[in-house]
Symmetry: C2
Subunit: 419 residues, 2 copies
């Protein structure tokens, strides 16, 4: 504790980590936020980068820019190797950092249910690089198809499979269908992108199980109207670069996108802590590690209960946990009474299906269709950080809505062409 000020080290600059830092802006503490990326990524819109509607800089900001005005905070870009609980130090590739209070907010990544070999063939969607990787695969599939003479091969290459019927899967499937039908058709001569097949495969009995059945049914109808083939109750048993195998048979595809499972970051291993099946660290009612009041775990890395249900892995939950942890730490630093146990306030559920279609559930309010879509758009633009990005994103959406265009159709970091 240099100068008597608490040293707070935050691991991760996602929604949860940034909220912790913000909540400590006026507290008598020294904040060090460490992330392996230099940018915060607005994950709820990542699927729009993957489908070329937005460009990475529209939804990502340098973390140090976000915190540049906060005098008690510094930002470091480094990969965390582990935590020394006894000496209270974080070990990173860029050195060791001592803490009085540690906040772990390192998020989650995709999980392939024990089939890690599927990862290379079916990327998930968590980071900017994932989004540009998926964008490259989608666009390259059309490019390769345009070079082929064989109709069946062309058909296979322009088939896209999304595995997992949660919000990300629904958004990806709807957005791929939208690009194929509305943005690409004029650009190709041999391939007809409007004929591309988009399949959404969900092992459970319906899409979007967190929503009421009526809204799930609406989403399925809206997707079907957009040309997506929705397969529920179908388990995927194999994934490779040429397609997927399901209980019902084989589907050849030009790209497979994984939206089926989530696995917490390796924080439980760093902390030697108990965790649930998805790797989330089990924390006490104040979000600290049992027996370690100096270690908080927040966001998608934490396993927290909301009554008899788990707190969901969504941005508002991560933000609430971050704010709470920040308030507890600020109170401790000031010697003030700390707030009671963390209580999750569920604000509602939103999912967009495509152009002019989204579903919204806020308490008793249920919206669908164009009204839901407008509501969804306003909420997401509102939560984007920074005036400039709000203008840029609003402008991109408005433009695409009017022109049916997708401007960010760049294939970068690609092996040069097919062959």
């Amino acid at each position: 504790m240099a100068d008597g000020r608490l040293r707070v080290v935050i691991l991760g600059g996602g929604f949860a980590g940034l909220e912790v830092a913000n909540a400590l802006a006026k507290a008598p503490v020294d904040v060090t936020l460490i992330d392996r990326q230099n940018h915060h990524c607005f994950q709820p819109l990542l699927y729009q980068v993957a489908t070329a509607a937005l460009t990475p800089a529209d939804i990502a900001w340098p973390i140090r820019w976000v915190l540049s005005g906060q005098a008690n905070a510094r930002v470091l870009m480094a990969e965390v190797d582990g935590v020394d609980l006894e000496s209270r130090e974080v070990r990173t590739g860029g050195g060791r950092f001592a803490y009085d209070i540690l906040v772990v907010a390192t998020g989650a990544t995709h999980a392939y249910f024990g089939h890690d070999d599927w990862a290379a063939a079916a990327p998930g969607l968590k980071r900017i690089e994932d989004a540009t990787d998926i964008r490259r695969r989608l666009l390259l599939a059309f490019e390769r198809a345009e070079l082929l003479e064989d109709e069946a091969e062309r058909r296979a290459l322009t088939t896209f499979v999304v595995v997992g019927g949660g919000p990300t899967g629904v958004e990806m499937a709807g957005s791929i269908a939208d690009v194929a039908r509305n943005a690409l058709p004029d650009d190709f001569r041999k391939v007809d992108p409007a004929q591309a097949r988009v399949l959404l495969i969900e092992a459970g009995s319906r899409l979007l199980p967190v929503f009421p059945e009526r809204l799930s049914a609406y989403a399925e109808r809206a997707l079907t109207r957009m040309g997506v083939e929705v397969l529920t109750g179908v388990a995927v048993t194999g994934v490779d670069v040429r397609g997927v195998t399901t209980a019902n048979g084989r589907i050849e595809a030009g790209a497979v996108i994984w939206a089926a499972g989530v696995q917490a970051s390796p924080a439980a291993a760093w902390l030697g802590a108990s965790h649930d099946r998805a790797g989330r660290v089990e924390v006490g009612p104040d979000l600290t590690l049992p027996g370690r009041p100096e270690i908080f775990v927040v966001g998608d890395t934490a396993s927290v209960r909301d009554g008899d249900r788990p707190v969901p892995g969504v941005a508002p939950a991560a933000k609430q946990m971050g704010q709470y942890a920040g308030r507890v730490i600020a109170a401790r630093a000031r010697g003030a009474p700390t707030p009671g146990a963390f209580a999750y306030k569920h604000q509602g559920d939103l999912a967009t299906v495509g152009r002019k279609a989204a579903i919204v559930k806020l308490g008793r309010l249920e919206l669908t269709g164009f009204v839901g879509w407008l509501f969804w758009g306003v909420v997401h633009v509102y939560f984007l950080i920074g005036l400039r990005n709000r203008i840029a994103v609003a402008f991109s959406w408005l433009w695409d809505y009017v022109t049916f265009g997708r401007r960010s159709r760049l294939i970068t970091q690609a092996p040069a062409g097919p062959g």
Copy 2:
């Protein structure tokens, strides 16, 4: 010649290749444009992507989108392996394509004067990937420096060397100094980006030798005022990941950028043609290969004379050659008389130095300073393809000018952090 229509195959979707296709829009020919990238890149603004002022989608467009309205043109993404002159076919990774007329417009890349091992340590600036690579190196150098305790090491990491005093080198050096002094300072705690060293090293006796001496001297003064150390008459004798060695001694650096040499694409080898020292194919007065009237070579790949001087490797020259070749081909397809020999019309020289400073030479008109900068900005926004990108680029520039910001400061595809 299917259906009696000439099959025109264009290799390369840069300025020259696109102009050929445009000039053939109404000609009775079938155009196939082949590029290994899916996008046309507006190279004159690439340095702004490298320094985080613009985002890749601001200056690059899918080639097939550019040509989507041209019914007689198709676009294929494939890597060219070679040309069979006798059977008149192009060999690519995506198949063989027969031509009646071939236009080679595959551009140029960097040249390291026989030191190809310097390439990994000192990237040049020709493609979008080069720009994001340089952006990553510049930003990572500051990130790594922020993790260090040793002042001398920090100083070395925040030293940037640009090799080559032509327009690209001048623009890069000015733009790096601008980012370091104006965009970054609030974001760092240990490093003071305003103290970053930027060196511009030129082996010749002055910067920008194509301009009159008065304008070269102005550019050097403007750079010096911005904090760039200009070293003329200094040869670089070694380049590695930790810096450069010059005739005057060693300079440790956090990033080295190469802007010193250009080498034409391997077209001469494909065609078995004679070429100049930079690999440019020697063509006749109508830009065809001697003895091969069915093969045109245009843009940076061609060695063309303008009186006693070579035609420079700039965008307007590439466009003029492309337009000319397109007109000759259209005339042949219609059986009309073909135009006389290609004549290059030099429109002038422009180079920007930094915020509010550029030099312009148009005939007898010479502009410097803010007026030159405004002129430069208007010309470049005007030449960007498509209304939308003009709005986006103009908006980005205006915003940055007002806020001193650089929004696109993303490190992507990076090895995760230092260490």
